[in-house]
Amino acid sequence: MPLWLFAFLGALAVIASLGMVLQRNPVHCLLALVLTMLDLGAIYIGLGAETVGLLQIIIYVGAIMILFLFIIQLLNLQTEPVIGGALGLKLLGALGAAALAAELAVLLTQASPPAPAAALPAGYGSIASIALSLFSNYLIAFEVTSVLLLAAVVGAIGLARRLPAATQAPVSDEAGENIRSAAG
């Protein structure tokens, strides 16, 4: 990736992610995050990881971010009012994050980077090479992933499901009875 392209995409990523933190309307925050994700996808493609870059755009921007958008609309979130009281917390957050960024940047850039590979293998970043890795070295992890996703689906339904009032009320009454009888 040429330096000028990195400078442009990197600056865009930082500005967009700062926009996510600083905006008060949740939808604007989300759009800024979508811009960051698209930008990172472009960086991945620039790094020769075409498949991961496209997956980033499809999965993150196309699925996860849209899910966030649905939730924001479902909860009908409005622009947050300006609250003056939490200035100390904001200052602490900004200073702490700046210190963390400086520390991480120094650590990561000072750590002796691995010597660049002489030449990238043929088909680097293609679907075929990722699939070859996934279904040979990482086969067990790949299979466990399906269990994880199934658990997530079941858990999400269980959490978001509205319990019928008929089943909810007796349970709470019973619990109250138990507490009262234990206390008595």
Binding site: S17, P26, L55, L149, A152
Partner: protein
């Protein structure tokens, strides 16, 4: 050709912005977005280092990180909806039942 340390620096900055969002914002959904930003910052480091080493492992790990992020989003947003239904708020400062 951009040196790999530049990508590491960008990754560090994005991660720190995510941490700042986590501390500064009180809106649960924006805090959740900050977590996504931190995950993406680490993914960037994986892809850049994998490219440097000429190895596919970094990209495969990013693939798994995306899967975990998808599962985490589904569960997290489910918790958020359950919270909103019970308390009619998603402000982290209003959820103070376990606070002393």
């Amino acid at each position: 050709m951009t040196p790999v340390s530049y990508f590491m620096g960008l990754s560090a900055v994005l991660f720190a912005i995510g941490v700042a969002g986590m501390i500064v914002r009180r809106n649960l959904i924006v805090m959740f977005m900050s977590i996504e930003l931190m995950l993406n910052a680490v993914n960037l480091a994986f892809v850049a280092l994998g490219r440097q080493l000429g190895s596919m492992d970094g990209q495969v790990i990013v693939f798994f990180a995306m899967t975990v992020a998808a599962a985490e989003t589904a569960i997290g947003l489910g918790i958020l909806i359950a919270t909103f239904r019970n308390r009619a708020t998603i402000d982290a400062d209003d959820l103070n039942l376990l606070r002393w």
